[in-house]
Symmetry: C2
Subunit: 346 residues, 2 copies
DNA sequence: ATTAGCACTCGACTAATTTGAGTGCTAATA
DNA sequence: TATTAGCACTCAAATTAGTCGAGTGCTAAT
């Protein structure tokens, strides 16, 4: 059987309708819209065909049709009219996103928040993984008699408290060595040998107690390794409760639990490494729990290299058109902003 | 009518039962437990009395009784047997809490998480407000041609990106001035006059462009002011969905929205400034939305001064005994840990 | 090829009914 | 006098039966 233009239009009308109503769509409803000028009987025949071809599903004999995963897929690939953001929406977004440029990770969080606000679905956003981040400065600040704060400045700032016997003066000296040896490098440039060398310098020439130094460097190394770990933020998880597909409270709880475990999310977001905006519909998603949901992802990049992901999670009948447009807009804005934060653009 | 011992025991038995079952408790259920050796008829009479006295409520004629807010209040004040944490639970908690001492705020977050894990209710925890925090160090690190990272180290580390035309050398100099003028002080010690003085020094003797300097100091001042703002974290919000009192998904959504707005939480947590562990039951809570929930709060302190709050939010029939014990334990641990992080204890 | 017409299906809704946990009261009992 | 067994009564919740209507598939007419 052939998927002619009329069938396509009917399929599109059904999906458009289902996206807003969340109820099985009947032939009469489509016919009444009168865009096609066809009677319900004709539509009915076409719908039967579309069902046979796998694009539609009938929940039970006397109900209307709902789109199958295949139907959605075809819709997203070929039918959906790309929604265009209004110019004032774009400008507003730019303003909102730029108003609070304080640190890369804050900006990323804000972008996730805005994507959630724009789409009213749940968003997941990952911060850049550190490999591409050059260390600008390191510091050791004594904050009590037996503890120092270790600080690494890249495009963002990470810190951790280390319990150690270093004196304030020793902190200054060691910090200087650390900067000499490590500043300008990225996390992956730094091997354990480098750390070892630092140890030799400090314990040798500078006469710092080896035991103290080893302990300290252990944490320093750990912190640097952790630079690679991107963070993941979830925004607007509560929107889940808004959609009838998650009316079953146990289902909602399952999803909440899933979203709460960052490992799940990292895996999820890592699975999609393609260019551009991609949708994973229903069973196309690996995790069983998302088989009734859709995931739309986009990369944002830095120096042309993809470094982070922004994802929207919602019901399968999500408003793909709007979600695509929102993600497109926001990822572009982030790209611009990251460049702006990290280099001298604008 | 007098609330004699037998009535008290019956009330206690009813509430204990209702806490686990969430179903109206009938006379037979109490009688069958046989701890009192009374027939259901006798219990029935006593229950009628307790209802008349306002401790119990009968949802409808042919149902058992549930505790009223007054009933819970009496239970919490006088009836509840204080649950004692097992020694190994305590030790485990200490281990878990200490294993990741990196920064004060991380530790606080972790405490909130552990309280949630221990009680399986939602927790809200606020970080110390900054007034008591001494500035250890300030720094300006250039991270691109037109942006520097401004860093303040107290017991924790805060940073923000500032767009400015300062050169690397100028950064070093200004940072030095900032440290001379501000290190060792607390946020409230620093007035706008101090900032003004810094401006004079930098622009005068050091010859830095006033426009650049004013812009920079504006953000510096803002950042220092923000030191006072405690953060608020919510953990385990999803547990809401677990309890039958929130089965109504719209109610659950309302609570989620409430929990999402940090202003609500700040207000909520600010309202309870008493010593020790306090419960607010049902309508004792200000926000209308919590009228079917209970809130248990505890302060944690630093140098004997209350600086932050830990709160548990759950259904009115929460396991008060266990929640009280958990909060008691955790707040004590935090007290110890904060001392440890900030000063030289242990 | 399209559509009007019609019998048929089946979930959703409503009303009627049954069930049973729990009560309050009364009379018997210790 | 306090307690309890016994029983009639109540009422929400669960079950069953019955109705409604949106929607289908098929057939015959256009």
């Amino acid at each position: 059987m052939e998927l002619n233009d009329r069938k396509k239009m009917i399929l599109q009308a059904i999906i458009d309708e289902y996206i807003v109503s969340a109820e099985p769509v009947g032939s009469r409803a489509i016919s009444k819209k009168n865009e096609l000028g066809l009677s319900s009987a004709t539509i009915r025949n076409e719908m039967a065909d579309l069902e046979e071809m796998g694009f539609l599903i009938q929940p039970h004999t006397s109900a209307g049709r709902i789109p199958s995963d295949v139907g959605y897929r075809f819709y997203v690939n070929s039918l959906m009219h790309r929604y265009k953001m209004g110019i004032e929406a774009i400008e507003q977004l730019e303003r909102e996103l730029r108003s609070k440029i304080t640190r890369l990770d804050k900006t990323i969080m804000r972008a996730g928040y805005l994507a959630a606000a724009l789409t009213d679905y749940t968003t997941v956003i990952s911060t850049p993984v550190g490999e591409s981040m050059e260390i600008n400065k390191l510091d050791l600040v004594p904050i009590s008699d037996d503890a120092v704060m270790f600080i690494i400045v890249t495009r963002t700032v990470k810190s951790r408290m280390i319990k150690t016997q270093l004196t304030a003066d020793e902190c200054t000296i060691v910090a200087q060595v650390l900067n000499n040896m490590l500043a300008g490098k990225t996390a992956e440039d730094i091997s354990y040998d480098t750390i070892h060398e630092i140890e030799k310098i400090c314990c040798g020439k500078l006469g710092i107690e080896p035991k103290v130094m080893i302990n300290l460097l252990h944490f320093v190394y750990e912190s640097i390794s952790e630079l690679d770990d991107g963070e993941i933020y979830v925004e607007n998880a509560k929107s889940i409760l808004k959609y009838p597909e998650y009316r079953d409270i146990d289902k909602a709880r399952e999803i909440f639990s899933f979203l709460e475990d960052k490992n799940n999310l990292k895996k999820l977001v890592a699975q999609t490494d393609n260019e551009g905006i991609k949708a994973k519909i229903g069973t196309e998603n690996e995790p069983e729990i998302l088989k009734d949901s859709s995931l739309v992802t986009v990369n944002y990049s830095l120096d042309g290299k993809a470094v982070g992901k922004l994802a929207v999670i919602g019901p399968k009948r999500m408003n793909y058109s709007q979600v695509f447009a929102s993600l497109d807009l926001i990822s572009n804005e982030i790209d611009k902003l990251i460049g702006y934060i990290s280099k001298d653009e604008e």
